[in-house]
């Protein structure tokens, strides 16, 4: 089994199945179950009424139905939240990744006076407790007239992605072979051309990674929009979900349906992007 073997059945008859390969497969399968079981509970509980979930928290649904999804989508206005989430998260990720790639390129490729300090300056942001800045940030956006404004949230989100992106991207750029730039430079290419034509395509997998890792926490964040947005028609999916959390009573059924609706796009995105990252990586290395 340790070779890519399409005819799985044959391996059962092979005398040389190693103990290690059985063990490793067993381990992977067991861990997959540990991951999927709680997620399975989420999905089954979307098909059970909240009253039942409170009474018997873990059980199979009486019937396969999608009522709670309909309720979440319609009554809780999830269609609006979905569009808001999409616009806000995408804009933030694109903005954050673009400016980070530019800065990371210079910081990663060149040793110039102050470069080290600038790098540390950017990376310092990684160490900030996410919630700490909320009050000063609120006061700042308030003075800029950006409260209850999607642009305000996008700018904040893009900024929060910069430390991580610069951190990762600059180490990528740093490690690209130098002959590439030299070849480009002999051609007389300008810095921007080198960056855009030569370097950027080479770090595409890194860009995808950085974008994904920005995308996920932003897509799931409810704290910043709760404080920085006011009108319900600007709310995002996670904020919408918080409405199912009561002080003493939570609408689990609808909440779980909302969760599935919220998470599904992430899973699809991740599925496609991981492959892109992995194939991009392997292709990039074996030139």
């Amino acid at each position: 089994m340790s070779t890519a073997n399409p005819s799985q059945n044959r391996s059962f008859h092979l005398p040389r199945i190693s103990f290690a390969s059985v063990g490793s497969n067993g381990m992977l399968i067991i861990y997959a179950i540990i991951v999927l079981l709680p997620l399975f509970i989420v999905v089954t509980n979307t098909m059970r009424p909240t009253r039942e979930i409170y009474r018997v928290p873990v059980a199979l649904p009486a019937s396969i139905n999608f009522d709670s999804y309909v309720i979440a989508w319609n009554e809780a206005d999830f269609s609006t939240y979905f569009m808001n989430s999409l616009v806000i998260t995408l804009s933030s990720v694109v903005l954050g990744t673009s400016v980070s790639a530019l800065a990371a390129y210079i910081l990663g490729r060149y040793n110039f006076p102050g470069g080290r300090i600038l790098s540390s300056f950017f990376v310092a942001g990684l160490t900030l407790p996410f919630r700490l800045a909320i009050v000063p940030l609120f006061l700042l956006l308030n003075s800029l007239g950006l409260i209850d404004n999607r642009l305000g949230l996008i700018l904040v989100y893009a900024a929060t992605g910069i430390p991580f992106s610069v951190f990762i991207l600059s180490s990528f750029f740093r490690q690209l072979p130098q002959e590439l730039t030299e070849a480009a430079r002999i051609d007389g290419a300008q810095e921007f051309t080198i960056f855009g034509r030569v370097m950027l395509p080479l770090v595409r997998p890194a860009l995808a990674t950085v974008a994904i890792f920005q995308f996920v926490p932003l897509w799931n964040d409810f704290f910043f929009p709760l404080v920085l947005l006011r009108s319900t028609d600007k709310w995002t999916l996670p904020v919408g979900m918080t409405r199912f959390f009561g002080e003493f009573q939570t609408d689990w059924s609808t909440l779980f349906a909302g969760l599935v609706i919220t998470t599904l796009p992430l899973i699809i995105l991740f599925l496609s992007a991981t492959e892109q990252i992995i194939t991009g990586l392997t292709a990039g290395v074996r030139k």
Partner: protein
């Protein structure tokens, strides 16, 4: 002469009032008032209630926006600071509202709106500790007691216990029948001071002890207070096994799934029992006073919160009119009917029988849930110390004496008894 002056004054007042009403009517052209709240579960009920107000006040639209309770304080603090905040906001009670008052973010309401429907004890929860002004119109009251599953009690031949011995005997019977006698949680620490006060307030003496502590005549290291904490040790065998691993939601599941017939908690649970366990008949009793109690049974209660007006609102008059209405019997009655909580407005009657039982018990055996009512005005709060300390008690890591010391040490850092002031 005298009467003529009075006539003149009255007519002048009438003219002024008319002018005021006129300008109000003008301003009232299509006003939207935003009301913020931490009660997401009450959204439908509040929308119905405000429909009534809108019908009676043409031109005013009330928009109810609930936020997730755990982040509400933060959302409100920023919301009252900048633009786009609410006109009217649901406010925490007692110590929980002081920061907003001291920051000048709320409009004082005494003398501005009619608060005659409330007692001073109720208004205390919406009053600024420094300046003595009232900043909110109280909306709810909570009381503590024991809920029980009537079906299981009947099955075991039990009735509501009236003495501590009867209570213990009932618990033994229940446990003997294979149930968890008291299905209370201890993983969520906030439920523990509630359990303590619901069970043991008579042991330390309730209101008399409260007054003595406030006056500086005694403190929490008092032997009676220590003994009241020890009562929880006596009850621990009847709580779920590994109680410190049982969460609040798990505990309610124990109750509504019939695994445990008793849940000691607050009247705010009634809405939950009604909506999630409509088939279970739920009764309530006051926990009988433990041995050596200084008083009879007590029902500790507190004002749950109020509605106040944002100092930055663009519609102060309309907002005040709305909160004034929220102090009316009309609002209070709808509140208790639809939300299944007690209204503090004099003249309201709880229609839910269980809620009515709480109301009667509370009226006849009044006490304040003192750690919440009196000891949330500084940091650390009384409940924030007692909760984790009781967890340690259940884990066998501490003693009632040490807990009392910890509570006293924490509170003494900011609390000065009246005598010493």
């Amino acid at each position: 002469m005298k009467s003529r002056t009075r006539f003149a004054a009255t007519s002048l007042l009438a003219v002024l009032l008319l002018a005021l009403v006129g300008s109000l009517a003008l301003a009232q052209d299509e006003v939207t008032l935003t009301v913020w709240s931490w009660r997401t579960e009450d959204e439908d009920a509040y929308n119905e209630i405000f429909d009534v107000y809108e019908a009676a006040n043409p031109g005013v639209t009330v928009e109810f926006v609930p936020f997730v309770a755990t982040d509400y304080n933060n959302i409100l603090a920023t919301g009252l600071t900048g633009e786009g905040g609410p006109d009217v906001a649901q406010l925490r009670a007692y110590g929980g509202v002081q920061a907003l008052i001291e920051a000048g973010q709320l409009l004082p309401l005494d003398g501005e709106v009619d608060l005659s429907g409330f007692t001073d004890a109720i208004l205390k929860g919406a009053t600024g500790r420094e300046d003595g002004h009232v900043y909110g119109v109280p909306f709810g009251v909570q009381a503590l007691g024991a809920f029980y599953n009537v079906g299981i009690f009947e099955e075991l031949g039990l009735s509501e216990p009236e003495t501590w011995d009867e209570f213990i005997a009932a618990l033994d019977t229940i446990a003997g029948a294979g149930y968890i006698a008291i299905g209370n949680p201890a993983l969520d620490s906030w439920m523990l001071p509630i359990l303590h006060d619901a069970v043991a307030a008579p042991r330390y003496g309730g209101p008399e002890f409260e007054a003595a502590v406030l006056a500086g005549e005694t403190d929490f290291t008092d032997e009676n207070y220590v003994a009241s904490i020890a009562v929880l040790q006596d009850l621990q065998p009847y709580l779920p096994p590994d109680v410190t691993g049982v969460a609040y939601n798990d505990a309610r599941t124990l109750f509504i799934s019939g695994l445990s017939p008793i849940f000691i908690g607050g009247s705010f649970e009634i809405g939950f029992w009604k909506s999630e366990a409509p088939d279970i008949e739920v009764g309530m009793f006051m926990v009988p006073p433990p041995p050596d109690s200084l008083t009879g049974p007590l029902v500790p209660s507190w004002m749950d919160g109020s509605y106040g007006v944002n100092a930055l609102t663009e519609h102060p008059e309309e907002a005040k009119a709305l909160v004034e209405w929220m102090g009316s019997v009309e609002f209070g009655q709808m509140f208790t009917d639809k939300i299944n909580q007690l209204s503090p407005v004099a003249g309201t009657e709880p229609t839910d029988p269980l809620l009515a039982e709480f109301a009667t018990a509370m009226m006849e055996n009044p006490a304040a849930y003192m750690l919440l009512v009196d000891f949330r005005y500084g940091d650390p709060t009384g409940t924030n110390i007692l909760g984790p300390e009781i967890q340690r008690l259940f884990l066998g890591e501490t003693t009632p004496e040490e807990i009392a010391d910890a509570l006293q040490t924490g509170i003494a850092q900011w609390f000065t008894p009246a005598e010493a002031e």
